[in-house]
Symmetry: C2
């Protein structure tokens, strides 16, 4: 295990009707806020009315900014920053999924500086302050409700970049599994895949002696594998949704990577695909992850064997560990497919002749290597994308 | 899963030499502090010197209060409160195990009120403020380094009582597994048992659909079971100590009981034993827990079967689940014994003729029932203690 520092101060309010507490939570920090959301679904579902009723009851006034899209855009972040400065708003309340929360985090950092918040995403300087953020989560997936991360897409150049900072841990996040009942099956599948990816990215590490976190990650994966089919079959299965929603937070709240170094290469490769094609992040991961594994498993057969046996219930075969390792990868790919996702670029109508371009973008034309479990350069990414073709 | 609220804002600094960061962490909160510890072991080991060197470097001044004993006493808490008020101290730094930290938490609550902090332990009123607390942990066991709890013994009447409050989450806790290298084997065994008990108390619940937290608890138990023999064999096994120390925090930091209601009856029964006999808490738990299980397992055979199969690797026998359930209990008792602990009151020289007295104390002469998985009254506690005789 490596030395580590860990903190996660986000207050979680979990369960039925928990959104009724949003007003009192917000009022602990500010009485004038930015209410940030995506499309019209929260208005159609009545959630918007319940949230604003709670805000009113707590004496909180708000300025609205809707319109967050999947792969949230920098231009809307700039609008939000402007509103916060104009109206001297004291908190950003994100009502939605990971995109809305990530957008809120960007606004929270941008609202307290003179310059452009995009600089932080380019690695120019680090934030030293941010407005407080609160969330009402509607989609279990990104884990942004209790994470340090935000990913924003700059439409100029279609660049997708991330910032991580303790300053943007939400002060509170409200998780009511009932809010996920109305999600389309495709979005459910993408969300589960995103959560699974967060676990895989932590699991495949070169750090030795990480017994506890290995087992905690495996526990969370097994929960996803057992519960996802239940909500796909019955979208109103509250119990199964509770497990998935809480697993989504636990997967990404930094506890499961304590003392270990993960590998985020698959996420980075996927960002290039969804940056170009604007496809759902989870759908892209279902394509990239099996291919990444098929390319890297020989790097640490034992780790893949442990994962296959413990998580996917592959029977141990001490005489053929390679087959055990590969069987786990096959079962994972079948799991993604069982949720209705495709696992090949061609099935997404992404032609193989774009692969070189994506590999170049991901590696700055071969000038950059990335990944930790296995370092990847231009040729590696090309091969992985070809395995996904 | 039940509705829940969860927060844990304690910053963890984990790993080799992490105690060197104590000064800078303390200085974020106060420059004049109470330095609280137990016996002379931290001075003999050089830890005291390293901690105070770090404090000096950060410009922090301290008042010392040593002498915390296992089952920490109210009289010393009163001394600490007096020192904090006299010298206007702004933080309590606990250097030691759970007893020192629990004592520090009591002082932190007492230092900001006019009245007696013991009132909170008697359930008279709730704390509304507390001085900040920091810890340098030397014994993985109680989990107090990132918990809301404190247990104090009042020598008048030899009463052992607890308080839980978010206000006493430590602001930071420093966990260096090397500090556990010098623990005597008996104390290691007691610590591991205490951690195991925290997991068992969360695991045995009547709440249905708690898949994720079941699996997270199982993961933590399995880690303990695999790592404890390693440190007993080689007290300087840093890797194994890391797993145990982090497991001890995770077991009790409130994440693993999210959405479920645990059963703390065994802890309460043990408090009466160690209250009277002043034996180590973990040693008492190794006696009480197997007996409690033998008394309650029929209440939910399935839960015991799941635990036996997943945690203790008992082979499933669908034709005889009762045998599977009981085999798990036997394996747990054997695990405690393998660490050198006894599992019977008689082996501790506690005579069976004190059982009625302990059962009476625990239930206020039968006027009180307690426990959640199974409610226990006077007769139940008598029977459990007789199973432990």
């Amino acid at each position: 295990m490596e030395n580590f520092e860990f903190i996660n101060p986000t207050r979680i309010l979990f369960g039925k009707n928990s959104e009724e507490k949003v007003g009192e939570q917000v009022a602990l920090h500010s009485k004038t806020i930015l209410l940030h959301y995506g499309g019209g679904s929260i208005k159609a579902s009545g959630l918007f009315d319940r949230v604003t009723a709670s805000l009113k009851k707590a004496g909180v006034q708000w300025v609205e900014l809707g319109g967050v899209q999947p792969n949230p855009r920098l231009s809307l972040v700039h609008e939000g920053v402007k509103l916060c400065k104009e109206h001297k708003l004291g908190l950003i309340l994100a009502v939605g999924g990971g995109s809305v929360i990530d957008s809120a985090k960007a606004i929270a950092m941008g609202a307290v500086i003179e310059g452009d918040v995009w600089d932080f995403y380019l690695g120019k300087g680090e934030p030293v302050a941010a407005l407080p953020i609160g969330t009402v989560l509607t989609i279990p997936a990104a884990g942004s409700e209790a994470s340090t991360g935000t990913v924003i897409t700059n439409e100029e150049g279609w660049l997708k970049r991330a910032v991580n900072s303790e300053l943007i841990y939400p002060r509170f996040s409200i998780l009511n599994p009932e809010l996920a009942f109305s999600l389309p099956k495709f979005q459910v599948a993408c969300g589960v895949t995103d959560i699974m990816a967060h676990l895989l990215e932590r699991y495949f590490t070169n750090v030795q002696h990480v017994e506890l976190t290995d087992r905690l990650i495996e526990a969370t994966m097994k929960t996803l594998i057992s519960q996802a089919p239940l909500v796909l079959q019955n979208p109103k299965d509250y119990d199964a949704w509770s497990e998935i929603m809480w697993a989504g937070t636990v997967a990404h709240n930094n506890l499961l990577n304590t003392g270990r170094v993960g590998d985020w290469a698959s996420h980075e490769i996927e960002h290039e695909i969804s940056g170009i094609y604007d496809i759902a992040h989870g759908a892209g991961l279902a394509v990239v992850f099996p291919a990444w594994m098929k390319y890297v498993w020989k790097h640490d057969v034992n780790r893949f064997v442990q994962w296959s046996v413990r998580v996917w219930n592959v029977e141990m075969d001490v005489f053929n560990p390679e087959a055990v390792a590969q069987a786990g990868i096959e079962r994972m790919e079948a799991f993604f497919q069982s949720m209705g996702l495709v696992t090949r670029l061609s099935e997404m109508d992404i032609p193989a002749d774009r692969i070189d371009e994506m590999a170049a973008k991901c590696t700055k034309s071969g000038k950059r290597s990335f990944g930790s479990f296995v370092k990847l350069g231009y040729e590696d990414v090309r091969k992985i994308l070809n395995l996904a073709a």
